[in-house]
Amino acid sequence: MSTATEPVRILPQSPANSGSDSGEGQLLEVSMGPQHPSTHGVFRMDVVLDGERVVRLKPVFGYLHRNHEKIAEHETYLGSMPYTDRLDYICSLTNNWAYALAVEKLAGIQVPERAEYIRIITAEMTRFLNHAALIGFLTQDMGASGTPLMYAFRERETILDLFESLTGARMMCNYMRFGGCRVDLPAGWLDQAKKFAATLPRFLEEFERLLATNEILMARTQGVGVLSKEFAVNAGVTGPVLRASGVNYDVRKVDKYGIYDRFAFKVPLGEHGDTYDRYMIRLLEMHESLKILNQALQDIPEGPIVDPKTKIRGFRPKPGEAYGRIEAPKGELGFYLISDGTANPYRYRVRSSCMMNLTVLEDLCIGHNVADVVVILGSIDIVMGEVDR
């Protein structure tokens, strides 16, 4: 995070930047953010403009930096679990899972089958609500004030109600444990979830119909912010943003963590890598999430939800290290842990998906109008809690 400059200033003229007396060709530096409704939190972009066109853009973040990693190094392994909720605060359950997976790799813990099913059900619900909310935010950024967002939030609220009855909290769930989950499903939860899942196709159809062939959406997103395949791979972009560029890489399919190899689902891929494809990928992924969700709700077995041999208190993994990663709704979320045999991790690292996806922001925006920056940033899908950590 660098210190704030004045919001707007005209850059001194350089030989390359000299124009006529009318001011043509002069570059203007604008500080977008940190308090800007489109930046999804406290995030700033140092934009250099030539008229309306973006010439340079430097993302500036760190306003929410609380050194989560340092806090975790002074905390027990389990004590960090509630902190992971606060990373990407829209998708707390997938954050929990990523951390639990890394610790399970580090200590070699097995997870019972029922817990794996519960993890998949909650993770796919999280993916569904994240993508729905993102499309809402994205259209909001384009000027569709409220309607698509409220449609998405209506479904999100129902999912959050289910989370609340399962975990006790709507957003800060703190639900996964090393070797399983914290509590079993309450009575009647599965029926409620099934009933809810049965209404989702109607919502998806309605949501698609609301926005499909919308002229403003098409004009603002098609051909805007094109990300090429090779560059996306080299820049470490993951998740829906990567797949919109046509790279077939989904950690659920590649690593087959949990029991994802038992479910039939497809990985939607984009063709052009533009903002429209990034929007469309989310819509298609919601359909696939729904498929996984339906299969998991059907097949979930009875049984224990946590490995009885796991020590919850006094948990001390043997010295060593592990890197565990999952396909979070925003991309690859990884945790890297080094244990020195004590109750606290020697090193605790969060590989944030949003922060890596921001790497390409400048390259996507250069040459576009300043209004497109808002849309491109919206389609990358960032949450500052995870970017800044």
């Binding site: 995070m1 050194n67 200590a107 560059f231 791979v233 060593g320 080094i338 090193r347 921001l358 790497t359």
Partner: protein
């Protein structure tokens, strides 16, 4: 591919480079390779482009701080005690200088394998903290190397834009180092209590009353 295979392949194609396998006793079984900084860019380019590996995706880059330790060993020394030569145990203490380590987790999106883990060490923690940047090889290292520079103080040579990223520009220390001490600047707290109150009081005695 096992680390042994990678080591032999890299050593065959890049003359003079040194690789060392760092074994990992944890059940995760993720062993890593320690590379020498002088050949790091060549090794990284080879791993990215050479056919069987094609590690085109650098997922995670992070720093680890290993401060110097005091190692005490018991040594038997012959000494004259009361005119008689006797064997006496003495404790000899040595101080290691410690180092900063940078870890890269590499995957292949094309071949769908990984992780291959690379590690590099600085010579010490104070002056010789330069390492070559791998951002020219993998663009994804750009922000993460900036973060390591910011929080650990490793200086990456060849990085296109090495600035602080999470802390502000005027900040001086590196907060993720294990011996980092918070600066003594009293933060306003409406109901100061316990340690905060104590710190505030000490601060006052240093700075004089407000």
């Amino acid at each position: 591919m096992t680390p042994e295979n990678i080591k032999s392949e890299v050593e065959a194609s890049i003359p003079g480079c040194q690789l060392e396998i760092v074994s990992n006793p944890s059940p995760s079984g993720q062993h890593s390779l320690r590379i020498d900084p002088a050949h790091a860019v060549a090794i990284a380019t080879f791993l990215r482009d050479a056919e069987p590996l094609r590690l085109d995706y650098c997922s995670n880059v992070t720093g680890v701080d290993w401060p110097g330790k005091e190692i005490s060993e018991k040594v038997k020394v012959k000494k004259l005690v009361d005119g008689v030569e006797q064997e006496v145990e003495e404790i000899r203490k040595t101080q290691t200088i410690g180092h900063l380590e940078v870890v890269y987790h590499l995957y292949s999106m094309e071949k769908k394998h990984g992780p291959v883990i690379l590690r590099m060490r600085t010579e010490d923690r104070a002056e010789r903290v330069h390492l070559p940047s791998l951002t020219p090889v993998w663009r994804s290292a750009e922000f993460q190397e900036r973060e390591i520079f910011d929080l650990y103080g490793v200086i990456f040579d060849g990085h296109p834009d090495l600035r602080r990223i999470l802390m502000w520009d005027g900040f001086e220390d590196h907060p993720m180092r294990r011996d980092y001490v918070e600066p003594d600047d009293f933060e306003y707290e409406p109901t100061a209590h316990d340690e905060v109150l104590e710190r505030a009081r000490q601060h006052r005695t240093v700075m004089g009353p407000l």
